[in-house]
């Protein structure tokens, strides 16, 4: 139900024009107001009536629509700081600055996670005073900003697995986005005609779409399994699986999608790139496939060869 309401907001507001504008640096104010007005930004807070699982469902839906509001950061920041009606975002501390903060330029509150992700520094941006900030973008054209940490800024210890939550947020968003990429590809293949018929009638196209569908299904299940494991003792293991598997799927799906769309899909005018660039960008954020596969590999070795099957057989 929550996702139905959010889905309607996204369907109404989140069109290609909005994604183009966000890429140009225009913050989607109307969309933010709609989300904030309905309390979605505080869905991950303990007394909101929503659970963390609901929050991840919203993030996944946002991925499907390519929503240019940093849902993961907003939801988690609100959860950790006890709520705010002003835009809050999360970046990482590096060499005395907070970097990679989505829409840092527009945020009132910026949380900077330390290297261990065990604490964050909270920077309240006084935009009138013009605190120094570098505007940047990731590969998808999403705002990724950096700012200095003022002296005396407050550090807060985290009691939740922030690194795993953010990695999972990216995995879930990617899974939603991959589903959208599949839909766009199916639609295109059925509409585009060559040799007197829709290209979807060619077996080579069908095979590729089938591979794509398989990847979307596997990625979706991997991301869902990690959300299912939120309260259990295998959570970080499942996050490793999810982020690694979804990242792999992203590579396959994006490649096939561009192959199916041909030159049309390579244009800025066509909306496909908004989604493929997002999955390419997100798979590198909060740990790429190699990073999480190595962690998983270390875990499996510690488990030992004879413990491998019992581990797999008791996954939820």
């Amino acid at each position: 139900m929550l996702t139905d309401a959010a889905g309607r907001i996204f369907a109404d507001l989140c069109d290609k024009a909005l994604l183009d504008a966000a890429e140009r640096g225009e913050f989607p104010a109307a969309l933010w107001r709609a989300l904030e007005g309905n309390g979605f930004h505080q869905l991950a807070m303990p007394d909101s009536g929503g659970t963390l699982a609901d929050a991840f469902a919203l993030i996944g839906l946002g991925g499907r629509w390519g929503v240019p509001v940093p849902l993961a950061e907003v939801l988690l920041a609100n959860r950790w700081i006890g709520g705010s009606d002003r835009l809050a975002t999360i970046g990482q501390v590096l060499d005395g600055r907070i970097v990679e903060a989505p829409w840092g330029r527009r945020a009132h509150l910026v949380l900077g996670l330390d290297a261990d992700r065990s604490a964050y520094v909270l920077v309240a941006r006084d935009r009138e005073a013009g605190a120094p900030l570098e505007s940047g973008r990731n590969m998808a054209g999403e705002a990724r900003d950096a700012l200095a940490i003022p002296a005396g800024a407050e550090w807060v210890t985290l009691t939740e697995p922030a690194h795993a939550y953010l990695a999972l947020a990216r995995a879930v968003a990617m899974a939603g986005c991959l589903g959208r990429i599949l839909d766009l590809s199916l639609q295109y293949a059925n509409e585009r005609e060559q040799f007197g018929r829709p290209i979807a009638r060619f077996q080579a196209i069908q095979h590729n779409l089938a591979v794509m569908a398989g990847e979307v299904a596997a990625a979706g299940r991997a991301a869902d399994a990690a959300v299912d494991a939120l309260d259990g003792d295998r959570f970080e293991l499942e996050v490793a699986v999810a982020k690694a598997r979804v990242g792999e799927a992203a590579g396959v799906v994006a490649e096939i999608a561009h192959q199916v769309h041909g030159a049309m899909g390579y244009t800025h005018e066509h909306q496909l790139h908004h989604f493929t660039r997002r999955v390419w960008a997100w798979r590198d954020e909060y740990g790429n496939e190699t990073y999480w596969q190595r962690r998983l590999g270390r875990h499996l070795i510690r488990t030992g060869a004879d413990g491998l099957w019992p581990l797999l057989a008791t996954r939820g």
């Binding site: 996944g60 979307v216 299904a217 399994a225 590198d284 909060y286 004879d306 491998l308 099957w309 057989a313």
Partner: protein, 375 residues
Amino acid sequence: MRPTVLQFDRITLPEETEALRVEVRQFLQDNAEHLSRPNSDFTTGHDPAFSRKLGQRGWIGMTWPKRYGGGERSFFDRYVVTEELLAAGAPVSAHWIADRQSGNLILSVGSEAQRERYLPPIARGESYFSIGMSEPNSGSDLASVRTRAERVEGGWLINGTKLWSTDAHRNHFMIALVRTEPPSDNRHAGLSQIIIDLREDGAVIRPIRNMAGGEDFNEVVFEDVLVPEDRVVGEPGNGWQQVTGELAYERSGPERFLSAFRVFVELVRVAAERGDPALRLPSAGSPPTSPRSGACPFPWPGCSNRARARRLKRRWSRRWETISRSCCRRSRASRPTTPSRRCPGSTVSGRRWRTRCCCRPLSRFVAAPGKSSAA
């Protein structure tokens, strides 16, 4: 969201299946002598003694009615038993096809007499079935099979060749897809399924050597092979619907992803023993050292992987030295009049490389210390 067909929900097995899982593991420990060569590739572990033991435990034909020797257990129970056996690499080949599909086919479309005759020995782990579908000219296009069964006095006369029948040289029966009516416009019409007794009916069975040196599958030739009337399974002419139903049993189940599992187990064992350096991380559980993780191939400003940046700077500085020395040697040879000329060098790690010619510094590849925010 995702189309329903691509949405997989979490499945929690019933609690009783967990107890059953423990039972199977105990059984495997008690019968460890059968697992001397653990291999989840279920086509290669043919062990009638093991199959009989499983049958005695009631773990073959688990879902069938009790009056046919089955256990009337759930498909979840069967799933747990089969996946534990496969994960352990137990030798299940002998009874596998009979349990997985042939018995289910007979149960669903066979006559009562056929059920009573064929199912109990399968459930006991004593009777083994092979598949008679593919032919030399019919693989993916299964409907094009040409083996024919002609109604004659005394039964059906069969002529043709079946191919890739796993263990036909060791099993008791085959269920063959045959053409019982001439081909027509409807290529799926006129097919039937018929039970062949591989030891008694007179089919000629030739094992085929595979590329790994094993002999599991076979060519089975029928030359005027007569089988009794009561061997047709289900309705004559309804073979296509029946065989596609049978194939649904064949092409599902955990064997489809567990058949390489033992290889994975041994990989983990080897990796643990050898201490693969690729698996070492800076510290257990630490987040990636750069916000966008993965290898940073060049020491661009902003790269926070300091150790790597330093290594790369050293490598480029050695190359710069090599290039500058070689080009300066050439230059000195051709321009002997400017011994005091010096090249603008590039400052790398505090050292200044000077040359006696106008080599262009490769500064675009090497970040001077202090300019990179990572250094």
